[in-house]
Subunit: 212 residues, 4 copies
DNA sequence: AATGAATGAGGATTCATTCAT
DNA sequence: GATGAATGAATCCTCATTCAT
C-alpha cells in the first residue's frame, strides 16, 4: 500500500489546471499581465505549456480567471466573518483588522487589482461572474453601522459605502505602497511591528471618526 | 578648473526630449513598464526611436526618469501649499482635499506608483534623486497636527506619519480603484458628483478622527 | 503456422475508420495537406484522435489513402460508363458531359489533385495502388475515337491521350478555378445555368475539333 | 570605381521588399499558404524576419500581394501581345501558344491560383486591385473571334468568354497536373518534346473547333 | 477498440535595441 | 541631432503525435 495513489483521470486534469492557476496568480502578481510569461507559468506549474491553452484558452482568459479566483477567495473569507454578536465598536474594529491582515497576507490581491485598474477593468468588465464579486464585507459594514447608530455609539451620518471604501483603503493602500513608502521613508514597513502599529492606527481612525 | 556648467543644449533637442518624456508618462501609465511600447512612445512624441535611446539610454532608464518626474511634480505642488495661517481644522481639510484632487487630476501618478510597487521599488531604489521624493506634505501634516493639538482642537496622540499615510490613502485608493469599484458597484465613480461626495467624506473621516 | 487470414474486424472499428476517411477528405479538400488539422478530422468524424493513428498511422499516410480513395471513386464511375452502343458523336458528347458533371459534383477531387501536384505527386508516387489509377475513361476515348474515325465522322489524326487530356481539362479547369474566375469576371459561375452553358460549349469544342 | 554602388536608402528598402516578395512567390508556390514558412521566406530573401512584417504586415497579406503580383505579371505579358495584323487563324494560334508557354514557364502561377481557389478566392476577394486582374487576353480573343467570323474563316457562334476559358484551360490543366499525369501515365510530360506535342494539339483543338 | 491528458518541437509575430548614413 | 532600415532574441500560441488507462 502506498500513499501516492494514482489520481483518477479527470482528477489529474483538475490538479494540473489548479497548479497552472496557482502559478499564474504568482506570475501575474509579480509581473503584471504584460510582464508575465506563459512559459514561466507552465514551468512553475510543472505542466506542459499546451495544457495552459487547453484549460484556459489564452493568456488573457487566464488573467480573467486569476482575477475571479482571487476576488472569490477574498469574498469567501469575508463571508466567513461573524461579528453579529460583538459590540458595534468591537465589531467594526474586527472588520478593519481583518481587512488589513488579509491584504497583508495576500499582497497578490492588491497587485492584481491594481493591474486590472490600469486596464480600466476591461477584463472584469466582461466577466460573467462579476456579481460574485459583490462584497459581503459591505453588508457587514452596513449592519454594524446601523447597530452602532441605534445603540448611540456611532454617529448617524456615516454612509455605508463610503465607510466601506475607507475601511478597505486603509489596509489596501499600505500594502500596495509598501515598497515605495519604504524607499521614501527609508523604513521597513513590512515588519510585524510596523504592521501592528498600522493596524492600531487604522482602528483608531475608523472608530475615532465614528464617534457620535 | 572648470565649472561643470550645464551645456546649453540645442533648444530643439531639449524639446524632443521633453516630448518623449511626456509621451512616456502616458504610455507607461496606460500600459505599465512591460506593456509599454518603445515604438509607440517615439511615435506619439513625433520623434525618431533612436532619439529615445540618445536621451534616455534604455526603456528602463526612461521608466525611472518618468517616475522621478511625476514624483517631483507632485512634490512641487505640495511645496506650493500654504496653510500656515489657516485654523488647524481648515488647514487639515485643505490638505485632504488637495491630495484627493491632485490624485484625481493625475491618475498617471497612481498607476505609475502601483507599477513601481509591483516591481518592489526596484527602480526608485536605485534613484539618486530619491531624497527629492521626500514629501513636503508630511511636514505640513506634522505642523498642522502640532498646531491643532496645541490649540486643543486635535487629539494629541495622532502620529504624523500614520496620519499622513491615512490622508494619502483616502484619496489614492479611490482613484486607483475607480474602475474595479465602478465595475463591482455598477456606478460611475469618476463623476464630479461622486468625487465631491468622496471628498466630503474623507474630510469628515480625518477631522472626525482628530477630534480630541 | 497460420494463414494470415484477414481478421473480421469489428464492424464498429470499420465504421470508425470510414468516418475518419470521410472527414479527412473534407478537411484535406478544404485546407490542403498542410492546412488540414488532425484534431478537426477526428472531431468531425466523432472519433478519438488516437483512432486516426491506429487506423492510418500518420497524417501523411491518411493523405495518401484519401488520394487513392477519391481516385478509385472516379475510376469506378468511369468504369460504369457504357457508350458502346451509342453513335460515336453522341458517345463522345456523353464522355465530355460525364466528366464535367462528375468534376462539378466532386470538387474535392480537383482540390486534392491540385494539392498533390503541388507536392509533385510525392505521395501518389509511393502508392502501390498506382496502377488502379489508370483511367478507364482513356480507354473509352480511344475506342470511341477509333469507331468515329472508322465511320468517317471523326478526323483520323486525333491522338487518344491528348484528346483525353483535353476532355478532362475542359471540365477540370472550370471547376478548379470557379472562385477566381468568379472574382475576376464578377459572375456566379457555379449556378446550374452557367454550368449548363459550359457543358454545351465543351461538347461543341470537342465535337467541332473532331469533325473530319 | 566599383559596381557595388551603395543604393540610396529607400532604394535599399525597396530591394529588400522585392527580395522578400520573390522568395515568398517561391515558398508559397511550393508549399501553399498553410505549408509555407515565414522563416524560410525571410532566410531565402536574405532578410530579417522582422522586415517581412514591416513591409507586408502578415503572412496572409504577403500571400495577397504575391497573388496580385503574379496576376499582374501575366496580365502585363498579355498586354504586350500584338496579333492585330495577323490572319485570324494565325492570331488565335499565337494566343493559344502564348498561354501554354507562359503557363509552362510560370508554374507558380498555376499553383498559386489553385491554392487561392481552394481558399475560395477569399484573399483575392478582398483585393482592391481586383480590377487589374481583368484579362487583356479576353479582349484579344474577342477581337480575333470577330475578325475571323467577319472573314468567314471562323464559326460565328463561338462565345468569347467560353472560348477564352477553354483556351486558358488547355494550357493550365496540363501544367497543373504535370506530376499526377506523369505518375499515372508513367511519362515525362515536362520534356520539351511533350510540351511541343501538347502545344500543337491545343492549337489543333481550338482551330478545329472554330472552323465554320 | 477507445479515451483524455500530455508532450516537445515548431509556427507566426513582436520587441527593445543598434547600424549606417 | 536625426533618420529609416535592420537585427536576433523572445513571446504567445499551435501542431502532430504519444502515453497511460
Amino acid at each position: 500500500m502506498t500513499d501516492t495513489v494514482e489520481l483518477p483521470r479527470s482528477k489529474r486534469a483538475e490538479a494540473t489546471k489548479a497548479r497552472i492557476l496557482e502559478a499564474a496568480i504568482n506570475e501575474f502578481a509579480n509581473h503584471g499581465l504584460a510582464g508575465a510569461r506563459v512559459d514561466e507559468i507552465a514551468a512553475r506549474a510543472g505542466a506542459n505549456k499546451r495544457m495552459l491553452y487547453v484549460h484556459f484558452g489564452s493568456k488573457e482568459e487566464l488573467w480573467l480567471q486569476v482575477l475571479e479566483h482571487v476576488y472569490a477567495h477574498k469574498r469567501e473569507e469575508e463571508r466567513a466573518l461573524d461579528v453579529g454578536n460583538l459590540h458595534p465598536q468591537e465589531a467594526m474594529a474586527r472588520l478593519v483588522r481583518f481587512n488589513l491582515r488579509y491584504t497583508a497576507r495576500h499582497p497578490e490581491f492588491v497587485t492584481l487589482l491594481n493591474q486590472e485598474n490600469m486596464h480600466q477593468a476591461r477584463y472584469l468588465g466582461t466577466s460573467e461572474r462579476v456579481q460574485a464579486l459583490y462584497s459581503p464585507l459591505l453588508d457587514l459594514v452596513r449592519e454594524v453601522l446601523a447597530r452602532g447608530a441605534a445603540a448611540g455609539v456611532f454617529r448617524r451620518d456615516a454612509e455605508p459605502l463610503q465607510t466601506y471604501v475607507t475601511l478597505v483603503a486603509l489596509g489596501h493602500f499600505y500594502v500596495a505602497n509598501l515598497h515605495t513608502l519604504s524607499a521614501v521613508f527609508q523604513a521597513r514597513l513590512s515588519s510585524e511591528a510596523a504592521l501592528g502599529a498600522r493596524e492600531a492606527h487604522c482602528v483608531e481612525v475608523l472608530l475615532g471618526y465614528l464617534r457620535p
